[in-house]
Every structure is written in C-alpha cells, then in structure tokens.
C-alpha cells in the first residue's frame, strides 16, 4: 500500500502552491502590499463575507502547534485546551505572523476557555468579541445574531476606516456559494471506494480555497478534478477496496493534532471525511442569495454551523447523517482536544447516535498536541480496525 501511494503523482504540481503555509503567507503579504487590511479570525462564526466585502482579508490565526504551549502555560492553566494555549502562546511569543499582520481581530464566545483567553489579548489589538447565542433553535435567535453581525460591521468600519455596501456583500455571498459548490465537486471524489485522495490532499484543497477567489478556485478545482480522474483511470488510489474508511468528527484537527490522521493512515485506514470546522463542515453551508437583507443571510448561514457550543446541537447529528450516507465510512473517530468540555460532553451523544442509527462503531480519542500519546492512540485505532475486520 505504501508503494502504491508513493507512485501516485501529486495533486498539485507546483511546489510553490503546494506548501499551504507559504502560500498563505505570500497571499497575505501580497494583499497587504496592495493596501488591503488584514482581519484575524479564530472561528467560522466570524462571517468572512462581511470582512471580504470591506476589502479586507480574513486570516485564520495560528493555533495548532505544541511549540508555543510552554510559553502560554506561564499564564494560562495547564489544564486547558491545547488550541487555546497554542493560540495564546503564539501571540505571547510574537510567533504568529498573521496576528502581527492583523489590523483587527475577531473573537467569539464559543467556549469558556477561548472567551476568557481573549480577555488576556484584547488590549494588544483592536479586538471585537461576538457574543454568540447558544440556543440555535430559539425563535428570536437570528434577530439577535444579526445584531451582533451588525455591530461587527460597525467595529470593522470604524477600525478599518471603510464602509460596507450591500452590493459588495451580495457579491461576496455569491462568491462563497460558488466556491462551496466547487468544493463539493471535489468532495464527491471522497465517496469513491477505494479513495483517490489522501487526507493531506483534502487539507491542501481546503487551504487553497482560503487564498483563491471564485475564478481562481474554479480553475484549480478543474485541474485537480482532471488529475483525480486520471488517477481513477489508472487505478491509482489510497488503500484498497477493503481499507477501513474513517469519518473523523469533533474538534478541529490541524497542525500537531494531525498525528491522529497520520495514525489512521499508518494503521491501514483511509480518511474519507472530516466533519470538523478545520475540515468540511463549513463548506456545506449555502447562503441565501438575492435576499432583501444580505446581512441577515450571512448571519443565518454562520448560525447554522453545527458547533458543539450550541445546545442542543441537533444539526451536527443531521450533518453526520448526511456525511455517513454520502461517504460510507466504516467507523467514526471522534477527536476531542483535551479539556474541550463542549465536544467532550457531546461525544457521548455522538457515539450513541452513530451506533444506534448507523450501526457504526465510534471511537473517541481525547488528545492534545504532544507526541506522548501516539502509541496509545495507535493501539486503540488498530484495535478498532481489527474489530472491523472481524465483523466482515
């Protein structure tokens, strides 16, 4: 299987484009040179269409390295989610270029840890915290969230000395929808058995979206699609027909947390879908076009994100149903970052749902960014795969 993978030509030929961090860095530098302000974001609840419509560039801030955690732990409790510690450590050690480059930063009250961490950085940059509703099914909730988005608009207009026109926002809504539809074309390949793309390539394509406009992205997706078609024609794929297909759900899995994906691969499994917001979740969103109130449309789309900070978070179960039907996984691995109470508590529900409704095994992995638990995770993943084998 390893040999087969090595033989597969890369999906994106240009090495310059293929390194996501460099690509992103250059993109931001270029934009800045062209005079576009930069807005740092930590979460999908910050509406990127609004930011882009003001001529600013939304950038995700660094949050996924073990390396910055010791610096954070001098101030934050050790017993906190690694993503929050890493984010804070990046800022504290001046190691996040994107934060340094940001003209404004948007935080949100998605979880206790982040919420309280923002208090420690809010004085460093113009920072806006969005008070997020937690009952998504409440009747008044959309009106309230729209007001938050409107307040954000006011903050950005003031901080960036710019203004928002409804037309620009409408155009950005169309752009997002277009890119999300294009992304869906790519996601369609993940349903193939055996699968013609690796988890790294899924991430590559996702990061490409961040640095491309609709036209550029269309071009990229077409090229990528034809590469994949060629792979399929040549029988080049990852794993075999019987490799365990895994849907990875839960907390964002990026940077040093990718060890979990790596372990799945090394144990002979293939990742066929990534539900988390670092993965595919946000691309299933469609924003209402040509509404009389594009701001409301944007608010509605972000509010529909099925994050565990919502209670109850029924939409995540619905999303999992759709993803399971479409990508036919053999098992679900629910990744919980250490001390993330929201995903951790919800995991119980996810497991019950996945087992009862779909008859699939669900393995919860609680981990952080360190390497200390790699062998333990490996043992558990291998045991899961062995069990799948027995059931066949």
């Amino acid at each position: 299987m390893q040999a087969a993978m090595a033989a597969v030509p890369p999906l994106i030929e240009n090495a310059q484009i293929a390194d996501p961090v460099r690509r992103f860095l250059e993109y931001v530098l270029n934009k800045r040179e062209q005079g576009n302000p930069v807005v740092g974001v930590y979460c999908g609840y910050a509406p990127v269409e609004l930011i882009r419509a003001m001529g600013a560039v939304p950038v995700s801030l660094c949050s996924a390295s073990q390396w910055t955690i010791p610096a954070a732990e001098a101030i934050l409790p050790a017993n906190l989610c690694p993503m929050i510690k890493s984010s804070f450590g990046f800022i504290r050690t001046n190691a996040c270029f994107f934060y340094a480059a940001s003209d404004a930063v948007i935080g949100e009250t998605t979880c206790d840890g982040k919420k309280k961490m923002f208090e420690l950085i809010a004085h460093l940059k113009p920072t806006f915290i969005m008070d997020l509703p937690q009952l998504p099914d409440d009747t008044e909730v959309l009106d309230r969230w729209r007001k938050s988005v409107l307040k954000l608009q006011g903050f950005l207009e003031k901080t960036l000395q710019t203004s928002l026109s409804a037309d620009r926002l409408e155009a950005e809504i169309r752009e997002t929808n277009r890119k999300n539809r294009l992304m869906d074309r790519f996601f369609a390949y993940l349903a193939c058995r055996p699968i013609p793309v690796s988890w790294r390539e899924i991430y590559d394509v996702i990061t490409l979206e961040h640095v491309a406009n609709g036209d550029e992205f269309q071009d990229l997706i077409e090229k990528i699609s034809s590469s994949i078609d060629q792979r399929i024609a040549l029988g080049q794929c990852f794993g075999t027909f019987s490799s365990p297909r895994i849907l990875v759900s839960g907390c964002p899995v990026g940077g040093d947390a990718c060890k979990v994906l790596q372990i799945i691969e090394e144990a002979g499994g293939v990742v066929v879908a990534m539900e988390a917001c670092s993965g595919m979740k946000n691309y299933f969103v469609r924003i209402t076009e040509e509404s009389s109130d594009p701001l409301r449309a944007v608010a509605e789309s972000t509010l529909s994100i099925p994050c565990s900070c919502m209670t109850p978070n029924r939409r995540r179960l619905d999303l999992l149903d759709k993803m399971i039907a479409r990508f036919s996984p053999d098992a679900v691995i629910d990744v919980v970052l250490h001390a993330c109470h929201a995903y951790n508590v919800e995991s119980h529900k996810i497991r019950k749902h996945v087992q009862k409704k779909h008859g699939l095994p669900c393995l919860k992995i609680e981990t952080d960014y360190s390497k200390g638990d790699i062998e333990q995770i490996r043992t558990r993943v291998e045991a899961l795969f062995e069990n799948l084998e027995l059931k066949k």
Partner: protein, 246 residues
Amino acid sequence: MRIAGIDIGSRTVKLAVLEDGQLILSRNTMTSYNPLATAQELMGDAVFDVITATGYGRHLIKGHLDCPVISEITAFARGARFFSSDCRSILDIGGQDTKAISLDQEGNLRKFEMNDKCAAGTGRFLEVMATALGFTIEEFSKAGLSAGKAVKINSTCTVFAESEVVSLTAQGAARDEVALGIHKAIVSRSIGLLKKVAVPGEIFFAGGVAYNDCVRVLLEKEMGQPVFVPSDPQIVGAVGAALSSL
C-alpha cells in the same frame, strides 16, 4: 539553647539540631510504614530543648510530642536563609512534591507554587525511571551528564513515563540519551513552577534531588541563573523548622 527541627517527608525523615547558630547534628533515614516510630528512632538520644515539626507527617507527630508545627514551605523558606543569607528563589524537589518559593528582601515568604497532587516530576519519579533503565540513582545522573543528546520524554507522570521509557528502550534508544531526556523532563517541569514565582539572582536548590548533578546543571542552563546547592540539601526543611522554634 539547643533547638531542633524534624522534617517528616514522604520518602525520608530528617532531624536537625542547632546551637548558637551552628548546625550541630544532622540525621536522616528512610520513612517507613510507621513514620512516627521512624521519627522517634531518629531522635533517639539527640539532646535538645525545643523541637518543631514539619513535612507531611507533621500533624501526626504533633499529637505525640506536643510540639509546634509549621508547613514545609515556611520551613524551607527559613532554612534556605540559614545556608544562604540573601537567597530569594528556592526550588525544593523532594520525594513526592516539588515546591518553588520566592522570598522578599527580608526573607519573608512571598509566593509559592507546588506540583499537582500526583508525584509527576519529583524525586520518586527519578527513582522509578532509574530503576526502569537499570541504573542506580548515582549512575543515572552520570549517564544523563555524559549523553551527547537527549531522547524526548513527553510525560512526567510516573506511570506514563515508565511505559514511555520501556517502549523507547524496546525501540533501541540509547540508555544514556533516555536518561538525559528524563532529567530534561523533570527540569522543564520544575522550571514551569519556578518561573511563576522566581526572582532574578541565585536559585537555592534543596531537597534530595539537589544531589543530582545532572538536574542541577540543566537547571542552571535552562534558567540562565546560577544555582546554589547547600552542603546538605535534604536537611534544609529540618533546619528551617528548628529556627522557627526560637
């Protein structure tokens, strides 16, 4: 007047007797399942006028000797000043806990931090790791010092680290390099505590682990501050207790 202090720790019991500002008696022994008996045996024929108890077993002995007690944190703060009259930052790594203490100019307790309730990164941790690698404690420290590079150990939890060490050696990692890795892990954990309280200047390093040269050398390097180890780092708490009898 002869003043005495007894420090009943989790691994060892220490007795100090002072007279006219001089340490005239210093004894220690391993703690047994019966710390009270051990303490009484240790005191044996020692002659003193007053005694103060400190350490984990302090309240136990209080009922039997009818003596005052002080916490080991205060005891270390006072004891450190006996050996180093102007020290401000103290690190004590004992059998089952690690304390980082800072003092003000006058020697009063300013801030302190302690490890969590488990024995991660303490003297006991080093003992278990040395055994896992087939070293004596002395060999263990030498091995760490002689290693050219370190194998990274991620856990300072005694239980997890032991299995990590076993799997590393099974993978063929060099014993010396693992030893250095373990020493680095304990030092980085101690620094985590120390940085929360320490002030610039010399660090007074006490407790049984201060005998370990590898830990001392790494500590000096990582903190970038000189580290001072008294002649008998284990007796510091007992001396501090004795001084508080005055």
